[in-house]
């Protein structure tokens, strides 16, 4: 990992250069319907972007796993059916990630998308994208990235991490893609004291988040698996609507549905759409049987998949602690509080429930 110094002007010039080269540049932009909120949107100039105030409403995953995406188009002809699959090459794109927790979501989901079968639609876009993250200064009481082993300065999933210092940014260049992006930009030697002030800013940001939730112990995953039938699951999600809004704003929720639709009587498309295990139809069998018939089982699946199944299978917690699910939940389900309660319960009942 090498370091460079980028002044604000260097960054503005970089964006201008990228836009001139027809590379799409995405950054957090104030939303038209509510200027308080931010959305990841294309920008032409750096000034249109806003950094460091808060997290955008939706995570960056939609640039890699779109809300809806055509997998193939079909056309019925006299001889039979012709299909055209969606190409997996993607145009180059540079994404300014508001915080490391968004960028690290990509790296977490990479694990399942490369499990034996390479999801080339996902990886086509990942290869074409360069992710530039900023040190997070927008944490609030709901953030818990340090609890899942990340942090306001974590580099997972980012190609460059910019830490604000006096007069500009200390750019930590992490991957070859980051190097290619910043080649010849700003200055290679870092001004005196910049590193120290960066480290101080990182430490201070980390301390603020650590207060929200202690680090999740490694054995939490196996405790959850052992307590699959614990009575707590019957009462933990009574106020949950089962609406799935949490899964839609989550940087690591990657479940999808594959559905065909018609554009005319002979033509149509097979689409991949966002889906969520919180919806009642997610596991409904054609026979009418539903292994997860009520919201208790569905919310248990959300916790088990994120904090037990995914860590067991892929070695990563399927959560970056960004807190969006808690902020957006209309029913007041607060994931950090719930995980906190479960962790204390795990301490008091290490052996799990005697049902």
């Amino acid at each position: 990992m090498t370091q460079r110094f980028l002044s604000h002007a260097d960054l503005t010039a970089l964006v201008a250069e990228l836009v001139a080269a027809k590379t799409r540049v995405i950054a957090p932009v104030r939303a038209k319907d509510d200027p308080e909120q931010l959305d990841y949107s294309p920008i032409q100039k750096l000034e249109e972007a806003t950094f460091g105030t808060r997290l955008p409403r939706r995570s960056m995953k939609e640039f890699f796993l779109p809300v809806t995406e055509v997998l193939l188009r079909y056309q019925q002809t006299k001889e039979g059916v012709e299909i055209k699959a969606t190409p997996t090459e993607a145009p180059p794109i540079v994404i300014f990630s508001a915080t490391p927790c968004d960028a690290s979501g990509l790296d977490v989901v990479d694990k399942v998308m490369s499990w034996d079968y390479q999801d080339e639609l996902w990886f086509g876009r990942r290869k074409a994208a360069t992710v530039v993250s900023f040190l997070c200064t927008a944490m609030d009481a709901v953030c818990f990235c340090t609890a899942v082993g990340l942090g306001p300065d974590s580099i997972q999933g980012s190609d460059v991490l910019l830490v604000p210092v006096e007069g500009g940014y200390l750019a930590n260049v992490i991957t070859p893609k980051g190097e290619a992006l910043l080649k010849g930009k700003g200055k290679a030697e870092v001004p005196a004291g910049a590193e120290a002030s960066a480290a101080a800013a990182q430490g201070e940001a980390r301390k603020k988040v650590e207060a929200n939730l202690p680090k999740i112990p490694a054995e939490f995953a196996s405790w959850l698996a052992k307590n699959f039938d614990h009575p707590l699951w019957k009462t933990i999600s009574l106020r949950c609507h089962g609406c799935g809004a949490c899964a839609s704003v989550c940087p690591t929720c990657h479940c999808f549905d594959i559905v065909d639709e018609h554009d005319s009587s002979t033509e149509g498309a097979r689409r991949r759409n966002w889906d969520s295990c919180q919806t009642s139809k997610f596991t409904l069998h054609a026979s009418g049987h539903n292994p997860r018939g009520s919201q208790n089982e569905r919310f248990r699946q959300r916790i088990q998949h994120k904090f037990s199944i995914y860590p067991t299978k892929f070695g990563e917690i399927l959560c970056t602690g960004c807190g969006r699910c808690a902020r957006t939940c209309p029913g007041g389900m607060d994931l950090p509080t719930i995980i906190g309660e479960l962790m204390t319960l795990a301490k008091t009942q290490p052996e799990g429930s005697s049902l």
């Binding site: 609406c243 919806t279 009520s294 902020r327």
Partner: protein
């Protein structure tokens, strides 16, 4: 809120109800509470942050709550109308729920930010409220401080602005709003009156509304959802509050409710015995539209 807590303790210890669905202090503002043990009735609160329409938990699709047994539900006057709606459409029996209605002086638009009920902070649904003193209840808890809530003009202004637009401008306004819709159906899941077991939007044969979040499907979805709320929506704005994309669904709901009130002199009210307007007719309904 001592009176509410005492009532909850009494109802639970007598065994009249098995669970009291009320509000409690959550990590961020008020949230729903499910009290089953008389000793734990203390967390029950009621203040201007108690925005959520708890009647949504009486929706028969919520199996995990139905298993708890007979509920008592804490409602404001407007929420009580959702309970009346569920009773009116035979989803719950009147005697299967104990209604604890609170006198209400208006609630906040954004419950996460506690504060004084100014005309900017008050919820748009409280303007012109006629049920500060609820009409449908088994127990009524007065409040010394409740007075008629100020009017938040935001929605009336938006409706007026839309009325002045040409059809194409309105089309573009809604296309822009629906472009953010991701079809998570949170608006449906949060609504007390959306109790269909198999929603048309999830029917595959025939595929009326595509499952994808395309402009065509989003528009068909919202059109159908709002039409199905004609004469049933009590304007509690849970759909707008649940939407992770902050789409102003309340405008659609309010416009249709006004249209139903104007054409059929009906407002989704507190009396479950008054039938819903779209399920009845009058031979002298106006025929202004019919050529």
């Amino acid at each position: 809120m001592k009176e509410l807590q005492d009532l909850a303790r009494k109802l639970l210890s007598e065994g009249t109800v098995k669970v009291v669905i009320g509000y409690e202090e959550g990590p961020r503002g008020a949230r729903a509470a499910f009290i089953t043990d008389p000793e734990q009735a203390d967390p029950l609160i009621f203040d201007t942050r108690c925005v959520q329409n708890l009647a949504a938990y009486l929706n028969p699709r919520r199996k995990q709550i139905a298993t708890l047994g007979k509920p008592a539900v804490v409602v404001k006057g407007c929420d009580a109308r959702s309970v009346a709606g569920l009773i009116r459409e035979n989803q719950i029996a009147r005697d299967s729920v104990v209604i604890i209605a609170m006198q209400c002086g208006g609630v906040l638009e954004n419950p996460d930010v506690a504060g004084e009920l100014t005309s900017e902070a008050v919820s748009t649904r409280c303007g012109g409220c006629d049920v500060c003193e609820p009409k449908l209840f088994d127990h009524y808890i007065k409040s010394a401080t409740a007075k008629t809530p100020p009017v938040n003009p935001k929605r009336t202004e938006q409706l007026a602005a839309l009325a002045k637009m040409t059809p194409t401008e309105r089309w573009n306004f809604w296309s822009e709003e629906f472009s953010r819709c991701i079809r998570c159906h949170a608006c449906r899941e949060a609504c007390p009156m959306c109790f269909c077991v198999q929603c048309t939007a999830e029917k595959g044969t025939p595929l009326w509304i595509d499952a994808a979040a395309t402009p065509r499907a989003n528009r068909a979805w919202q059109t159908m959802r709002v039409l199905h709320q004609a004469g049933r929506c009590v304007d509690c704005l849970e759909c707008e509050r649940a939407c992770p994309e902050h789409i102003p669904l309340g405008l659609l709901a309010r416009y249709v409710a006004d249209s139903v009130e104007r054409r059929f002199e009906y407002k989704a009210g507190d009396d479950p015995s008054v039938p819903a307007p779209m399920g009845i007719y009058r031979t002298d309904d106006d025929e202004e539209l019919i050529r």
